[in-house]
């Protein structure tokens, strides 16, 4: 699934979701999948402090459709994996991992996604409800 590089950081901007689904198409060269474990445009030396956004909030997520939330989930998952890879690599050489508060932000955003979806699933009349909730708690 092609994830646009705009969402490399967990930024919130109102218009982002529309542009996201639009640009998910074929502007990609053959990308090395290993690059997804490393942070995009970040230079080697400590030039300037890294700008990262805040986490997603529940009212913002309630506006999104199921597909959008699905895609956002995977964006956040890749971001979390990238941050955890970075942290593990830096700790293995006893260096400091800068800005460790990004990981809980991503994790809590993912939690809120599931919470919003569960709320929607509870509202459903009978047969849908169990199926939807099962699909979500299906993960692993």
């Amino acid at each position: 699934m092609l994830v646009s590089r705009i969402f490399g950081r967990t930024l919130f901007a109102a218009a982002k979701s529309e542009t996201y689904s639009a640009t998910a198409a074929a502007t990609s060269v053959v990308r090395n999948p290993l690059q997804d474990f490393f942070e995009a445009d970040r230079s080697v030396d400590d030039d300037k402090p890294v700008v990262y956004g805040r986490s997603w909030k529940a009212p913002e997520l309630r506006l999104k459709s199921w597909d959008d939330l699905n895609k956002l989930w995977y964006v956040l998952l890749k971001e979390k994996n990238m941050l955890m890879t970075q942290r593990q690599m830096l700790h293995s050489q006893n260096l400091r991992f800068p800005n460790p508060e990004r990981i809980p932000k991503v994790r809590k955003s993912m939690c809120r996604i599931k919470q919003v979806l569960t709320e929607r699933a509870i509202e459903e009349p009978d047969p849908r409800r169990s199926a939807e909730m099962k699909r979500m708690t299906n993960a692993l």
């Binding site: 942070e39 993912m110 599931k114």
Partner: protein, 184 residues
């Protein structure tokens, strides 16, 4: 009933995957990752293929315990993890300019330089006791003597080699113990 679930579609996969540092940067055919111990090989393969786009050939896994340390009476343990070695179908390469790699490389270089001991004996480099690759001075002359004079040649070669170079230390002409074992 609920097991009309031949439904093997997972909608919200949640597999934490930490990539370990690859050994070299060009022609990577195997990568190593760390995951949670309850991840199965098939799951890892599916997630990597669908989410990241790796072409996975083989996955082999092993479970590892986290490091435990006892501090006073308390046991401090890091979480257990699963290591997976993933063979790719075609080699990949990665540029070391991505974020943390360059710093890690430099750090490793510095650590390697520091652990090299500053006390270096004469004629010492990286020598293994089974491999006798000391510089032989004027070896051709001794070939005529045959096998019998082997230890003499060794002794002569050792003394000649040590005296030929500029002796760094006053004890350079002393033979190190592993040479004398040839006598037996």
């Amino acid at each position: 009933m609920g097991s009309r679930l031949g439904r093997r579609v997972v909608h919200f996969a949640n597999l934490p995957i930490k990539l370990l540092m690859p050994s070299n940067f060009n022609n990577i055919t195997e990568i190593a990752i760390k995951t949670i111990p309850s991840a199965s090989k098939i799951e890892i393969k599916r997630v990597l293929e669908s989410l990241y786009g790796f072409e996975v050939d083989k996955v082999s896994t092993l479970n590892m315990e986290g490091k435990k340390k006892k501090r006073g009476g308390l046991l401090v343990a890091k979480p257990d993890y699963k290591k997976a070695y993933i063979t790719l179908r075609s080699p990949l390469s990665i540029s070391p300019d991505l974020y943390p790699i360059r710093i890690l490389e430099e750090e490793k270089q510095r650590m390697n330089k520091q652990t090299k001991s500053s006390v270096v004996e004469d004629g010492e480099g990286k020598h293994h006791w089974l491999v006798d690759d000391r510089p032989r001075v004027a070896e051709k002359k001794y070939e005529r003597f045959g096998v019998r004079d082997r230890d003499r040649r060794r002794g002569g070669g050792g003394g000649g080699g040590g005296g030929g170079e500029v002796a760094k230390f006053p004890w350079s002409s002393m033979r190190s113990p592993h040479v004398t074992s040839a006598r037996r």
